[in-house]
């Protein structure tokens, strides 16, 4: 238990699309200053949960609390200054350039008459710098590699300067080196005191970078806690149906999952 109250809480929430309920009576706390990773099989509701936290979806029962207050009681720009989301898939306007897209992250701070304060320019410059995009700032987003483009979206989120960052599968489409590069970047955000919630598919990476794991299956949270306690061979078998052993990572000592050879497993 952390000393600070959790920044983001979802209480007893039923979340779904139209008639279809995905998660029922789900409760979860995101500890203040944590790097929380949400893991679980495809289609178990990770994105759905993230979208409910980001108030893209409204729970039909229960509620979401942001800094102790129901999220529905905030103005929408006020929420946008505290919490940002990198969706699983994003759309860029045709023919937009890197710096322009990153600058879109400033919109919660802008008004009709104040569209480009020096604080906006500063935030965009810093976000470009942190994601090593300064050199590419004038390029067309369409003409970047998948990895560079993903950094642009992260930069846009960074320019939003929110204390809470929600990221849905930020490492997909990246090669292994760029995956780690992005995770290291997220770690620097975490070190600066931001609260991160990321959906990750690689359990080893989740255990290595996150300090709080949330494990989901079929729309409910199976367990949550520090990776060293949560990741066990039984859990992986139960949640993913994958027979494996869990061994310490030779570099960091955090748990890693090593699948068993199905041909040598006793039927």
């Amino acid at each position: 238990m952390t000393a600070h109250p959790p920044r983001l809480v979802i209480e007893d929430a039923t979340i779904g699309y139209d008639q279809r309920t995905i998660a029922e009576r789900l409760s979860l706390e995101i500890p203040d200053g944590s790097f929380t990773a949400i893991i679980g099989p495809n289609g178990c509701g990770k994105s759905t949960l993230l979208r409910a936290l980001a108030r893209v979806l409204t729970p039909s029962t229960g509620r979401v609390l942001l800094d102790g207050k129901a999220i529905t009681q905030y103005g929408s720009k006020e929420v946008a200054r505290r919490m940002g989301l990198l969706p699983q898939t994003s759309l860029a306007p045709d023919g937009i350039r890197v710096a322009d897209l990153v600058a879109r992250g400033r919109s919660p701070y802008q008004s009709l008459f104040q569209q480009w304060r020096s604080s906006d320019e500063q935030a965009v410059a810093e976000a470009l710098e942190a994601t090593r995009l300064t050199e590419l700032s004038g390029r067309l987003v369409d003409e970047l590699s998948g990895g560079q483009r993903q950094r642009v979206w992260v930069a846009m989120l960074l320019a939003q300067q929110t204390g809470i960052m929600l990221l849905d599968e930020p490492t997909t489409f990246l090669d292994i080196a760029h995956q780690y590069e992005l995770l290291e970047l997220l770690r620097t955000f975490h070190d600066e005191g931001k609260t991160l919630v990321a959906v990750l598919h690689d359990l080893d990476q989740a255990a290595r970078y996150a300090d709080h794991l949330v494990v989901m299956r079929d729309g409910s949270v199976v367990t949550s806690g520090p990776p060293a306690e949560v990741v066990t061979a039984e859990l992986v078998q139960e949640v993913f149906g994958l027979p494996c052993i869990v061994a310490p990572d030779p570099v960091t000592g955090t748990p890693t999952v090593v699948p068993l050879d199905p041909r040598s497993v006793v039927r």
Binding site: Y17, D18, R51, A54, R55, V56, G75, S76, K77, V79, A80, M83, G84, L85, P87, T89, S90, L91, A92, P93, D94, G95, I96, R97, V98, A99, D100, L101, A103, R104, G105, S107, P108, Q110, L112, F113, Q114, Q115, W116, R117, S118, D120, E121, Q122, V124, A125, E126, L128, E129, T134, S137, G138, R139, L140, Q160, L166
Partner: protein, 361 residues
Amino acid sequence: MSALPRAEHVDFGYRSGSLRSRFASARLPLRVLGVSALLLGLAVAVAVAAIRYGDYPLTAEQVLSTLLGGGEPFHRIVVLEWRLPVAIAAVAFGALLGLGGAIFQSITRNPLGSPDVIGFDAGAYTAVVVVTLVVGSGGTWSIAAAAIVGGLATAFAVYLLAWRRGVQGFRLIIVGIGVAAMLGSLNSYLITRADITDAMSVGFWSAGSIARVTWSSLTPSLVLGTVIVLAAIALSPALKRLELGDDAAITQGTRPGPVRLALLVLGVATTALVTAAAGPIGFIALVAPQLARRITRSAGVSLLAASAMGAALLAAAHLLSLLIAQVYRSIPVGLITVCLGGLYLIWLLIRETRRQAGAPR
């Protein structure tokens, strides 16, 4: 404006300036602003040049001296009473159509989005035919009212039919095309039932012409047009956020549902206004945003540049129709914009086919 430390400076990849004061700040994309100013200037110049032409031709000096307050009494009537409202309409209506097209293409994320695509023109036409058959071909105001009511009702019906937990751009276009096609056959049927005078009067109306604009029909249009433009400016930040998709828009502080509905209403209002005053003027809304985007190289569609381009296009089409009238006979401007629009669509198709075939652009 001031010398910023290096870390604060952002290179956007194109020339842009920034404006900062205590009350307002903005980033100025110089190319978009420059091109828009140029197009608007061109539109005004062309519209003024068009004042020369008509049944009673004038020289450029006569037009200018009359506009500047001099001139003979008869010239004052021709220029100030008859032709000036038409010239203003060419610029203002063109800008409104361009604005409406830009709003629709941005919301639908589709270069084929425009208010006429969701059935506005077809609905307006149906209502005008019905009113002409019932009331007779006399009343300008009843025709204008019928156009607005019919167009809005159709747009609303298309919106409802396309609604499924929110309105998605592509569905809106498909449903709109379907409804417009159905109304088209209804219109043809109704015309076969009309007597010859009514059919002619509907035919004239449906060709779309700004030549019939007078001060008394222009003034209310300008007032409403100003309201629409101000509302579009107020909603433009939200429109930009919607470009990133609903999830991103919500998390940046926008409520997509109400904003999108308000924008659709604005877009349809631009066409409603123009159609009421001048009959349907097609294709400006469709073409202007895309042409403007190509020239300005803006990200997404720019409302300002699309409006300026719309003004230039309609003013040019208006001048062209007057020039044709000099040598042949008068062709309503609506027919000219439809021809230009047809050329544009052919060009678009060829370009897309080439691109799919892998040929260099």
